[in-house]
């Protein structure tokens, strides 16, 4: 369906004046039009959901509103008056506040100290008691319970997020922009966040929530707008007037085929591709990051790994691939014990990883796409003392064609690429290797919808081919859709292993937060 048929809504906020309105807003980065000729408005007392794929320009638009970027064309009206926002300070002075996806609190400081840092007119002295009282008052007014004396590092991610929101509100914001606030939260925490957002709306404040999750938009938004490739393809729409399919095709520009629902059941008698027995692992700080983990992934099975960010996912990934020494316990890959933690040994047993942070852990400065892929095929590309680069180029071309993730030109330097294109290189490399165990950490991060779908198909294809797949994700929907079973981590413990068809997302959320099944 075409977006022209999505009508602006005539909803109950129609009478409210716009706090902010933009007309013809355009921002270019070199040849790339990040946002082109965008019209958009937010009214007081509404929750406005901004939908779009990764790279659609959502964050750019919000950074324009928050004064981080300045537009190349177009104008920004606050309370009906055209303003230039040269810096976030200008935006804050006009009552516009933003909570970034990566929370920017100082962990070693208390809540009150963090908030005091951003309060206007704080002066030289830090009036601790006054600030603490203000926080309690503001929290009570909005129905947040926040302990101003608590150290931020002792707070959960959800609590930190609320502190950020409080911080923004206490510095006088009437419009709060939340950049993908739910991506790091368990379902229960999402409910808590939404309760907080509703109380802001009840106070007549405006909230913009950036997301790509439709059910969240439906749960909270009064109106929604959709960006695609920098263009506003639907602005100020009433969510009740459109169905999910129309929204997705508006976001993506075409219909996305569903994943095949019919999958072969993994036979119960399959051998284990991965067996983790009694594993304790130390984190970077010497703390115990994984406690007594017992886990088995059968050949031909997708084992999802769920958990609030920082629950031990990274340590599990590294332990399984021989990147992090085990304190106690042992790991078998394809029934062979890894004698010592050695990435070469894990590779030799057929364990392949898709890294969480490719830039720091997999991308080599100066090397092009072909060279990055050759790196995992060095033994087969040997020619005398050298490397058969002609064959490497053929191999990479062939892989790119078969895997179908459409990498950029193979002579491009990977370190110069955007996150999504780097990820395609990482995925093509991992899927191009025959493996007995695939350990995928957040494989669809930074990808658009169609490429994400292809990546999911490729994961399932590995499963069909008989590999065990350990699939770490922070997206519960994706985990429920792809996994045969889901292992839930809480604070380094295995809180439970559940079967997606038998439990709902709240049961998984309960485990993520440390409750029992």
């Amino acid at each position: 369906m075409s977006i022209a048929t999505l009508e602006p809504s005539a909803d109950r906020t129609k009478q409210s004046p716009s706090i902010i309105e933009v007309r013809g807003l355009t921002k270019r980065f070199g040849d790339l039009v990040a946002t082109g000729d965008v019209d958009f408005d937010v009214r007081s007392g509404e929750v406005h959901s901004l939908l779009g794929e990764n790279g659609a320009g959502k964050s750019t638009l919000m950074k324009l509103l928050y004064g981080v970027y300045q537009p190349d064309a177009g104008e920004i009206l606050v309370d009906g008056v055209v303003h230039r926002l040269d810096s976030p300070a200008d935006a804050r002075a006009l009552g516009i506040g933003m909570v970034f996806q990566d929370l920017r609190l100082i962990p070693a400081f208390t809540v009150a100290e963090n908030i005091a840092l951003s309060l206007p007119g704080g002066g030289f002295r830090y009036r601790r008691q006054a600030v603490e009282r203000q926080i309690l008052d503001a929290g009570a007014e909005l129905g947040f319970s926040v302990d101003p004396k608590a150290l931020v590092r002792h707070l959960s991610i959800g609590e930190r997020q609320r502190v950020e929101i409080l911080k923004v509100l206490m510095s006088g914001a009437r419009l709060v922009i939340l950049d993908e606030p739910t991506s790091v939260l368990a379902p229960q925490e999402v409910d808590g966040l939404f309760t907080a957002i509703r109380s802001l709306r009840a106070k007549g404040l405006a909230v913009v929530i950036i997301t790509h999750k439709l059910h969240e938009t439906r749960a909270i938004a009064d109106r929604l707008s959709i960006l695609r490739a920098g263009r506003m393809v639907g602005s100020g729409i009433d969510p009740t007037t459109v169905d999910d399919r129309a929204l997705i095709s508006a976001m993506v520009g075409r219909e996305v085929p569903p994943l095949p629902v019919e999958r072969s059941d993994p036979p119960a008698d399959r051998p284990a591709a991965l067996r983790v027995t009694g594993v304790h692992v130390r984190g970077d700080g010497g703390n115990t990051a994984l406690h007594d983990i017992h886990l088995e992934v059968k050949a031909g099975e997708v084992m999802g790994v769920a958990g609030v960010a920082g629950s031990g996912q990274r340590e599990l990934y590294e332990a399984v691939l021989g990147l992090r020494p085990l304190h106690t316990g042992d790991i078998h890959i394809a029934a062979v014990e890894m004698a010592k933690s050695d990435p070469g040994a894990a590779l030799a047993l057929g364990a392949v990883g898709i890294p969480e942070d490719p830039i720091s852990d997999a991308v080599v400065p100066g090397l092009d796409v072909t060279e990055h892929l050759a790196l995992s095929n060095l033994s087969s590309l040997r020619k005398g003392l050298g490397i058969d680069w002609a064959r490497a180029r053929e191999l990479v071309a062939e892989l790119d064609r078969q895997i179908g993730l459409r990498m950029v030109a193979h002579d491009r330097t990977v370190a110069d690429l955007s996150g999504g294109n780097v990820q395609r290189v990482m995925l093509t490399r991992a899927f191009g290797v025959d493996c007995t165990l695939l350990v995928a950490a957040y494989p669809s991060r930074g990808l658009d919808v169609a490429t994400t779908r292809r990546t999911q198909e490729l994961l399932l294809a590995q499963r069909e081919a008989g590999a065990g797949v350990l699939f770490i994700s922070e997206d519960l929907d994706e985990l429920m859709e792809l996994s045969d079973q889901i292992a839930v981590l809480h604070n380094g413990h295995l809180a439970g292993v559940v079967t997606p068809g038998e439990v709902d997302r709240y049961a998984i959320g309960q485990l993520m937060l440390g409750g029992s099944e």
Binding site: G30, D31, L32, G55, R254, P257, L321, L323, P343, G344, L347, A348, G353, P355, S360, D361, A362, V363, V364, P365, G366, L367, E371, A374, L375, S376, L378, L385, G386, I387, L399, R401, Q402, I403, G404, L405, R406, M407, V408, R412, T413, D416, L417, S418, G420, N421, R424, F431, G432, V433, D434, D448, A450, T451, R454, E457, L458, A461, Q462, A465
Partner: protein, 362 residues
């Protein structure tokens, strides 16, 4: 390999801005010219401050280095150990390592060559002695570098510090040997080892008979190292380890072995520099015989972005500046060490022009 159906049509290559054009030849050459002229201008101001007419001094320097064949030979002879010392920096740099120990590795190479000569001279054919000197020097330089390498991969001790400190030890070993066990009894009290017999000195070529075999050895080494880094699997793996050690580890590469072998190869090149200087020029060990070669080599490698062929050019340039230093002393009355100031200005100008990441160039 995973193959499912045919790739879906709807996946498109994500747009990607073209790489910023650093390939504009005219601009690149222009920026080099500006960098070198800048260094010359600053040094000219320095000379003017010392009461020397910089234009006259530069003309004298130019005339005395490039305008006659004798001084051209001199430039080549000076450049050869610089070139090898620079390769000693460039190879480890591919692995992301900083080898500040060229000086010590050169000294150990010289000591090994002298030791071999002392032990074998007169007992075996002189050609054999020469080969043994060169090989022994490479082994000694390699071992001296390996000390720092083992400390690095075994205990995580920063190789820049350890290689630097090993320089002082190597020089003390040299002083001990030439003031004790290897002291030349016919040396009139000068601290030096017994001179090399004429027939075990490196053969010389050219009309003036000054260019010795070491010059060609150095050039061959530069080509050899270039091929090694560029065309072998080892060179590629070393570059990966240097570019991102964690990526190398995760790809299953033997990172510790790669770093160690890079440092050892570099040390062998420095050892070779010690041998050709000993057997081609000095003929005996004496204090300060290699004074500063290792550091000049460091400079040359950075000037050239650690690229072996470009290093040969940088070594020639620095060789010419070193020879010009003599004219500076004779004609302009400035201390010979003034050329070190010029070398430093050149380095600053080039490094300031474009910060290069170690191992980034191919």
């Amino acid at each position: 390999m995973t193959v499912i159906d045919s790739p879906p049509e709807e996946i498109t290559v994500a747009p990607e801005a073209p790489t910023k054009g650093t390939n504009d030849l005219a601009r690149r050459v222009g920026s080099w010219v500006v960098a070198y002229l800048g260094a010359l201008a600053v040094f000219g101001a320095f000379m003017a401050l010392k009461g020397v007419n910089p234009f006259v001094a530069y003309r004298d320097m130019f005339d005395s280095t490039l305008m006659n064949s004798a001084s051209l030979s001199e430039v080549l002879i000076k450049a050869a150990p610089f070139l090898l010392a620079a390769l000693a920096v460039a190879v480890p740099a591919r692995g992301g390592l900083v080898n500040l120990g060229g000086e010590g590795q050169i000294v150990m190479g010289g000591i090994a060559a002298a030791g071999v000569a002392l032990g074998l001279e007169g007992k075996v054919a002189s050609g054999l002695v020469m080969v043994a000197m060169l090989v022994g020097a490479m082994v000694a330089g390699a071992l001296w570098a390996a000390l720092a390498g083992v400390l690095r991969v075994g205990a995580g001790i920063n190789e820049a510090i350890s290689t630097l400190l090993l320089n002082y030890i190597a020089i003390d070993v040299l002083l001990y040997l030439i003031s004790g066990p290897w002291k030349d009894s016919a040396g009139f009290g000068q601290l030096a080892s017994k001179p090399l017999a004429d027939e075990t000195r490196l053969p010389t070529f050219g009309s003036d008979g000054r260019i010795h075999l070491g010059v060609f050895i150095a050039m061959a080494a530069a080509v050899g190292i270039w091929l090694l880094l560029r065309s072998t699997s080892w060179g590629f793996q070393l570059r990966v380890a240097g570019g991102n050690g964690e990526a190398a580890r995760r790809a299953g590469l033997p990172v510790a072995k790669l770093l160690l072998s890079g440092l050892i190869t570099g040390g062998a090149m420095a050892g070779l520099a010690g041998a050709i200087h000993f057997a081609g020029v000095e003929g005996q060990l004496r204090p300060g015989m290699t004074f500063g070669f290792g550091y000049i080599g460091f400079l040359a490698s950075w000037l050239a972005g650690h690229h072996p062929i470009r290093i040969a050019g940088a070594a020639l340039l620095l060789g010419a500046i070193a020879v010009a230093g003599d004219s500076l002393q004779i004609d302009a009355g400035l201390p010979a060490a003034s050329v070190n100031v010029l070398m430093a200005f050149v380095l600053f100008a080039v490094l300031g022009k474009k910060p290069r990441l170690a191992g980034a160039s191919r």
